[in-house]
């Protein structure tokens, strides 16, 4: 048993007509199964509407499966009495951070998730401080949440998740509005948590180069998993990816072009260093 087990998961949404009658069902997750082990770093990619956020919401029991099961440390999300324990284990960053900000001052917002978990004020204070530092936004601690920029909001909502120190982190496009510098900083921190503290990480992202942080990449298309492999292997399947609406990362594309021109490269390089090896 992994710490996440998804078995034959199906999610369908009701489609209503103007009179609020259900006229049809839309299948958004179409019979997928996978397990994630403690300490894995999994990246989920796929085009818009492929079902990534829906899957993420199934993991913390926000959406209950139409069919199949989701087990977190063996606890089924269908058992309402276990939902609290499930959510204690999963820190979840949603796609739209603006909807996620609940308090009017940054530090209160960051503390919100910890509030009902019985931490001492000192411990809370320490954690707020730590997580704001990780994200490089200590100076915003007493700022009003209505008065910060888009990227800053994204960082504040992430700080709130980091300070819960959950065993599993589900991050749905956590860095979509952060500059590349900030994005890499943040991912390096998450990577560190993953490696040092064995935090399980599920990262959903359209920044395709971010797959290089992961041990494993799951590619979704139309509610199905079409690939589940290491980053290096996944980018070799460029035709499959293109058909699923995904372009390769910049460096990988360059490497592939140079390889087909006859340069000594594998066509699955991710870093500038790796790419420039052909000059040696």
């Amino acid at each position: 048993m992994g710490n996440i087990d998804v078995k034959n998961l199906i999610v369908e949404f009701d489609i209503f007509n103007a009179d609020n009658e259900v006229v049809s069902k839309k299948r958004v997750i179409d019979d997928i199964s996978f397990s994630v082990n403690e300490g894995d770093f999994v990246c989920i990619i796929g085009k818009n509407g492929s079902g990534k956020s829906t899957l993420a919401k199934c993991l913390n029991g926000l959406i209950i499966p139409t069919g199949g099961d989701v087990l977190i440390y063996g606890m089924n999300t269908k058992n309402e009495e276990q939902l609290i324990d499930i959510r204690k284990n999963i820190g979840m960053a949603f796609q739209n951070p603006d909807n996620q900000i609940v308090a009017s001052i940054v530090e209160e917002d960051v503390a919100f998730g910890m509030e009902n978990l019985g931490f001492s004020p000192e411990e809370m204070d320490k954690r707020i401080d730590e997580s704001l530092k990780i994200l490089g936004i200590q100076e915003l601690r007493f700022a009003q949440t209505s008065k910060i920029s888009g990227g800053q909001k994204q960082k504040v909502s992430l700080a709130g998740i980091l300070c819960m120190k959950s065993k599993i982190l589900v991050l749905d496009e956590p860095t979509s509005m952060i500059d590349k510098n900030g994005r890499l900083d943040l991912l390096n921190k998450v990577y560190e948590l993953n490696k040092k503290e064995k935090i399980t990480v599920i990262l959903i992202s359209h920044y395709i180069e971010e797959i290089s942080f992961a041990d494993r990449v799951i590619v979704m298309n139309q509610g199905k998993i079409i690939l589940d492999d290491t980053p290096k292997n996944v980018v070799l399947k460029d035709e499959l990816l293109n058909n699923a609406g995904i372009e390769l990362p910049y460096i990988t594309r360059m490497a592939k072009e140079l390889k087909s021109f006859g340069k000594k490269l594998n066509g699955n390089e991710f870093s500038v260093e790796e790419l420039c090896q052909f000059l040696k």
Partner: protein, 279 residues
């Protein structure tokens, strides 16, 4: 005549407090008709604040903004009509969606602008097709995925056919193919109809592909404006703005450090590929 002349504008959010921290601090620049301008800068540098001034949504504390030669701050200026000429898609497009179905939402602005209902719905359908989201036309905008919402917000602005299109981080949340499709579409509006485009982005490698000018903001100031290669290869500016270099420049730097010569004014993907092939 430039389409926008921005003259020494200053703006602070804390007018009633003593700390006068300027979100915009003495900003001046011109934008010509048909320009394709990328606005870049670190989180919190003032990018969103700046574009909110360009359709009169925010009013500068001092300084002036001229649109086609006329000050938008003069008493008799018709700010309402400016909003139809300058179409903006904001950073959180959720707040721009409100109708019951996607198609109603997309047609709304154009009808308000004065387009006939038939025309507006016809055009809306065309735009939805261009963006590959025709299948969403009868859905409720609230049930859409993140990327789908953003595309619907784009569509609403496209249908109004504004003279200037402004996008706040349009690529955030788009899958890569949709992103390419989006840029090609606005590039064609820019080429074929002379639509002026201003957009905020964090993807500097895309800036090289599409923009003809780049503005760099840092801490409320405009610290450089110029052609993409001029700006992005200016180490001092990139450092001051605290921005990570695009891959193209990092590759050029690495190649040079290995003792090879490479033309770092040619930064598009295909140009760089050609240079690398020759090494």
């Amino acid at each position: 005549m430039p389409i926008f002349e921005v003259k020494n504008i200053k703006y602070t959010y804390d007018k009633y407090e003593n700390s006068l921290k300027y979100a915009l601090n003495d900003i001046s620049f011109n934008i010509e008709k048909k320009d394709f301008v990328a606005l870049i800068g670190k989180s919190g540098s003032g990018k969103s604040t700046l574009i909110s001034h360009l359709n009169g949504l925010y009013k500068a504390d001092s300084g002036d903004i001229l649109y086609s030669g006329n000050s938008i701050y003069s008493k008799d200026y018709d700010l309402n009509s400016l909003r139809f000429k300058v179409g903006i898609v904001f950073q959180y497009p959720d707040y721009q969606l409100f109708s019951e179905t996607v198609i109603d939402d997309v047609a709304f602005g154009a009808i308000k602008k004065g387009m006939s209902k038939d025309e507006a719905y016809k055009k809306s359908l065309e735009v939805l097709k261009f963006l590959n989201i025709e299948y969403l036309k009868d859905e409720s905008p609230f049930n859409l995925s993140g990327g789908e919402k953003r595309k619907v917000a784009f569509a609403g602005v496209f249908v109004m056919e504004p003279e200037v299109l402004i996008f706040d981080e349009p690529d955030a949340g788009l899958d890569t193919m949709s992103k390419i499709n989006f840029y090609n579409f606005i590039k064609s509006l820019n080429n074929d109809y002379g639509t002026t485009v201003i957009y905020i982005t964090h993807n500097l490698d895309d800036v090289v592909e599409y923009a003809n000018k780049v503005i760099v903001m840092s801490d409320g100031k405009l610290i450089k404006m110029g052609k993409p290669y001029e700006v992005l290869s200016d180490e001092k500016v990139m450092k001051e703005a605290d921005l990570e270099l695009p891959y193209s420049i990092s590759i050029c730097n690495k190649v040079k450090s290995m003792g090879y010569d490479i033309d770092n004014t040619k930064l598009t993907f295909s140009d760089l590929l050609d240079s690398l092939k020759k090494l």
